[in-house]
């Protein structure tokens, strides 16, 4: 059982991870948990990329995975900044609290 032939397992794994992340987003109200869940989803994509890079025999996917990580970090940085000002304004990091604008 070669890895290349078993690429579908990686897809399954990544999909599982993706769904866990999604589940987290849908159920968690803490902004930080939200961020973590997004990270999970991004990493699910990374798994795919790396697995397929191996499968297809080129490095494109791996390099892209590096970019994804870098951008994920940047995203977290911005996100944490926003969560900080959220806390300062609403005294909470619960994402369901700010509802001043709706409808």
């Amino acid at each position: 059982m070669s890895v290349a032939a078993g690429v579908e397992y990686y897809v399954l794994l990544s999909m599982g991870l993706f769904c866990i992340g999604l589940f987290g987003i849908l159920t968690r109200r803490n902004a930080l948990m939200f961020l973590m869940s997004v990270e999970l989803m991004l990493n699910a994509a990374n798994i795919n990329l790396i697995a397929f890079a191996f499968y297809h025999g080129n490095l494109t996917g791996q390099v892209f995975a590096l970019f994804t990580m870098a951008l994920a970090a940047a995203e977290v940085a911005v996100g944490l900044g926003i969560i900080l000002v959220l806390y300062r304004n609403f005294r909470d990091v619960d994402v369901t609290v700010p509802t001043t604008m709706r409808w």
Binding site: A70, A73, G81
Partner: protein
């Protein structure tokens, strides 16, 4: 199909073992509620205050800076991998190899300089310093 059996077995075992251990310990452990058990662990010292202390905002700033700059270095790796090969090859000139990465680093440096000048790495300002900065 037999691939799936292996995976399934792994998943099953992976689930069963922790669940089983939790179940066993739940069954075996004595239940003695005591406030000390819920106290914050501070290496045996007497705890002062709760776990939910507010950290200074500077921690976040530094953490964020570290995070970003640390991850950006990841991008140096692919470049480093091909660097030697590229230097030896005649097809690409040195500027073409070095140029992009120098530009990248310069951009990072500008960012760092900006962060520095804006006090992001200035440690723990006293209120007086804050006043004087205003």
């Amino acid at each position: 199909m037999n691939d799936w059996i292996a995976i399934g077995a792994l998943a099953l075992v992976g689930l069963l073992i922790p669940l089983g251990m939790m179940a066993v310990s739940y069954l075996l452990r004595p239940s003695v509620p005591e406030t000390n058990k819920r106290a914050t662990y501070e290496s045996g010292e007497v705890p002062t205050g709760g776990t939910r202390v507010r950290f200074n905002i500077q921690y976040y700033m530094v953490a964020l800076l570290f995070l970003v700059f640390d991850i950006e270095t990841v991008l140096l790796f692919p470049w480093a991998v091909v660097y030697l090969d590229a230097v030896e090859s005649d097809a690409v000139s040195l500027t073409e190899i070095l140029g992009p990465m120098v530009a990248f680093v310069v951009i990072l440096l500008v960012g760092l300089a900006w962060a520095w000048r804006n006090g992001a790495v200035q440690w723990a300002q006293t209120p007086r310093q804050v006043e004087s900065d205003r």
